[in-house]
Subunit: 417 residues, 2 copies
């Protein structure tokens, strides 16, 4: 129950149906908790901005106004500044992605991209496919347009393409509006999709006349292993989403959608009514980031920050977590996905963890259908290695205590084993 | 027909129903034309940014990063920075609006406010009331959620409240989701709603259990006459929209919604899925604008810029336009609304005007129902007085030539008089 339902609301009859199916984001609410100074946050996917060269960014921001103020402070085009789109297209070439600026629209972070795509494609009741689990706020964006979400299991190679195919076959050609995937260091599991799976997914999308959406916020943040080619590099029908939120600054709210021109035109039309245009000033700042800073070394320094944090988390899990727990071993990104014995409920554990000064994301919010009860997403992006180790130690204690309680109940005949 | 329909689009079966009812914004397309250097633009509602003190703004932007970079570049709360909301609440006190920061959510310009409100309230087929004509892009924002829009005529005192009452009565209590109005220097007509009308509208919203939305982007830009109190100052159930786009910089995309707390909570939930949060950096810049600059004198200097442009436009209309044309006499804002003889179609005149190097907004796009064919919105905000006079002279010529042609047709018996 949300706060707004607990107080008298004389307007409640006026709300649209869609608001009644929306869930508050547990992650967003945890962001609030994470700002308590005594809390070690394993919940938010917030980059550690403290490592950005603020002096350089301040100069960029000032230069953006001084040099291009008349246009940077003015309304811009809905599609976004051409210079910025060109700079991003150049940046994408290193990932094997060849795109023209007219195939790109700038968005207010990737979150707006998800909203615009959902708004462009989803009628109430339409079927879409996502990974299961998937990004909490993607589910939130999509749910506003009331689709049927089919969340397909992942294994260590990423989304189970055999299950995707079975689902597509069941609904027939054109029966699925889109397939939404995060192939690199997936949110929330950290899993990277194998090359073979990527190829198959591209084929399946073609075969069944659906759209493949490749969301890649974390791709640059690889700490081990080999890069896997983007699906967009295999087929330019793929809709590709990117953002500067993890490699520069989420506070700018600059992301992008690459899409085939006819789809991009529709998204552009949808965006007109949604916000007219993005912030020209922030688009200029992003352009300067890619054209005037040594962004490669900024990203390299971010990797140096996150890499030991990942190692600290994996080592601490190994040391402190009970043998009944399993977890993923991400090669990059921000997240590890932990699965506990099925009799444990991570929603119920959360207040106990908060009591011990630790936050995480319970798994249930990452599914559209109630799965994920015994799982949790833990992020290693925001805290120092020592704090991460301490948090995992505390979490392990919460889990162990709960498991002991459970075993005592079974012994006393109060629960079945 | 949009460009995207004219080329082969293999995805067209996948689009949601809502995109088929969306219209491209004529204004947005005209923004593109207006960037041609030989064009005098009477179309866009773009503030004249060339008059902003860019050095001060550059300093603010730089200081925002240097002093508050770690939070200004980070994800923020969905509702927006508290300090910024406090600064805006202080700013609103001068308009007699008493609001607490927890009643305010920051948006990506007022356009996002319109989208979020529509998304929160409108089911397909729901009835809403607007002024007729109304803001083109408000219709665009609302239409994505497929309402029935009832556009009520204005006279020189603003929206005809007798017609509003008749419509509300017809649909019964709760039968109208909201009434959307722009009471000050209305877009597109420039008309200001009288005090008596405002009072009656507030009463009617209460009586019929509907929500009154007061959109006030231009309120500070008054060149003559006396300020009229905001409806929000009469009743805090009114949803009030504001923006820095006309008094500072649209390129920041910072607007706000004031709403009763339960409604604000719903809008906040809707916004989570739409974009997670706005740009913290731009919110800090806006906070600094209100707390560290002499914003009153910046606005006063903007008034000095726009006031002679309004006078130039009204004088030129008087001098050059045919006696058959009528137009409004705005006391502030950016726009004059011209109505030509009913046998003239301003959509058809537009290419002729463009030929002569002048753009305007045809009236039809400002109605949901095909009215406005013989009207046009002309803006005096963006060009110098001399250019405005020249543009009106050219427009008058286009109109006169068309009228002559019409009279010749009648004389030749090819048309009825």
């Amino acid at each position: 129950m949300t706060t707004s339902h607990m107080i008298f609301d004389e307007w409640s009859d006026l709300y649209a149906d869609r608001v009644h199916t929306m869930k508050r984001s547990a992650v967003r609410d945890l962001f609030a908790a994470a700002s308590r100074s005594d809390i070690i946050s394993l919940s938010g996917g917030m980059p550690d901005i403290r490592n950005l060269p603020l002096d350089i960014v301040a100069d960029i921001a000032s230069a953006a106004v001084t040099d291009q103020g008349v246009s940077a402070l003015q309304y811009g085009s809905t599609i976004g500044r051409l210079d910025t789109r060109e700079a991003i297209c150049d940046y994408l070439v290193e990932d094997g992605i060849v795109a023209k600026p007219e195939q790109m629209i700038l968005t207010s972070g990737s979150q707006q991209a998800l909203d615009l795509i959902a708004k462009t494609f989803i009628n109430p009741g339409d079927m879409i496919i996502t990974e299961g689990p998937t990004y909490v706020s993607a589910l939130q964006a999509f749910s506003a347009y009331q689709p049927q979400v089919c969340a397909i299991d992942l294994d260590e190679e990423g989304i189970r393409v055999d299950l995707v195919e079975a689902e597509l076959k069941k609904h027939g050609r054109g029966g699925c509006k889109f397939i939404y995937t995060i192939p690199n260091f997936h949110n929330p599991t950290g899993i990277t999709m194998s090359l073979a799976r990527r190829r198959r997914l591209v084929e399946l999308a073609r075969e069944y006349g659906t759209i493949l959406i490749e969301d890649n916020p974390y791709g640059q943040l690889r700490y081990t292993g080999e890069k896997v080619p983007a699906m967009r590099s295999m087929d330019d029908h793929v809709i590709y989403l990117g953002t500067v939120s993890k490699i520069f600054a989420p506070g700018l709210r600059v992301g992008w959608i690459l899409a085939p021109k006819p789809i991009l035109d529709q998204i552009n039309l949808v965006k007109q009514g949604t916000d007219l245009c993005g912030s020209a000033l922030n688009q200029v700042i992003v352009e300067h980031y890619f054209t005037t800073t040594d962004w490669r070394s900024i990203i390299a320094s971010l990797i140096e920050v996150y890499k030991p944090r990942r190692e600290a988390m994996l080592a601490a899990l190994e040391e402190y977590f009970p043998p009944e727990a399993t977890w993923t071993h991400p090669e990059g990104g921000f997240f590890v996905w932990v699965t506990l014995p099925r009799y444990l409920d991570t929603d119920e554990l959360l207040p106990l963890a908060l009591d011990k000064g630790v936050t995480y994301v319970p798994g249930k919010g990452c599914y559209p259908d109630g799965r994920g009860v015994s799982s949790m997403r833990i992020a290693f992006c925001y805290e120092q290695p020592e704090a991460i180790e301490e948090a995992i130690r505390r979490l392990a204690k919460v889990i162990e205590e709960r498991m002991e309680l459970y075993r005592a109940f079974i012994k006393a005949g109060l629960l079945e084993g």
